[in-house]
């Protein structure tokens, strides 16, 4: 786990990690949220609607932004204060997502950093774009 202090978060600093989306993750997300929409739960329905399989919950994809902040950027001292996301392409079970964050803004007065987030699939296609606002719990 990274442990960036607020003063170490320079504009342009980047961190990234990759994660494969599995059907077990889909099942767990369903159990947690109760979202039984057939686009996520029913293969035949999804194909009938023009997709090539069950579509991964958008919020399962964007949940990786929590990991980006809490583990990588800034890591240990992260306090997530806001997240904005847009979904650009469907994600499917088996996709390997690369989550990349870059510090684009800092507000020293309230110790908040804005991190631009881009999530790409294994074909390097953007599937999700977002903005993460984090406070940093360090130096008292």
């Amino acid at each position: 786990m990274n442990d960036y202090k607020f003063s170490e978060l320079e504009i342009g600093l980047k961190e990234s990690f990759s994660k494969e989306i599995t059907s077990e993750m889909m099942d767990m997300f369903y159990k947690i949220t109760g979202d039984c929409n057939p686009l996520h739960c029913n293969e035949d329905f999804s194909i009938e609607k023009g997709f090539r399989g069950r579509v991964v919950y958008g919020m399962l994809t964007s949940s990786l932004i929590s990991t980006l902040g809490g583990v990588y950027l800034p890591g240990k001292n992260c306090l997530i204060q806001g997240v904005e996301t847009k979904y650009s392409r469907p994600v499917y079970i088996g996709d390997v997502l690369n989550v990349m964050g870059e510090v684009v803004e800092k507000h020293d007065s309230v110790k908040q950093a804005t991190i631009k987030v881009i999530i790409r699939n294994q074909d390097n296609k953007v599937v999700c774009k977002g903005k993460l606002r984090v406070g940093v719990l360090d130096e008292g």
Binding site: Q81, E105, H107, D108, S109, V110, K111, Q112, R133, G135
Partner: protein, 79 residues
């Protein structure tokens, strides 16, 4: 930009941050007057003010504002 113009812009920021078009802020407005004005919304407010006015506060200033009037004084000193 004069005090009146700062207030016009600041009022729009308050409306956006608190998602309330009926907010009207004045010199004496405090966090007690706006129900949703908690510590996290205070951060959002400061960040929006810094971005919209193109200024930076320091931590001491942010923690010492007693009301909106003092916030406006600080903005006027920086623009």
């Amino acid at each position: 930009m004069n005090r009146e113009e700062v207030y016009a812009k600041l009022n729009e920021i308050f409306e956006d941050v608190f998602d309330d078009e009926d907010i009207v802020v004045s010199d004496n407005t405090t966090a007690d007057d706006i129900e949703d004005w908690d510590s996290l919304e205070h951060i959002n407010l400061v960040v929006e003010i810094e971005n919209q006015f193109g200024i930076k506060f320091n931590m001491g200033e942010v923690n010492s504002f007693k009301n909106v009037g003092e916030m406006v004084d600080a903005i006027l000193n920086k623009i």
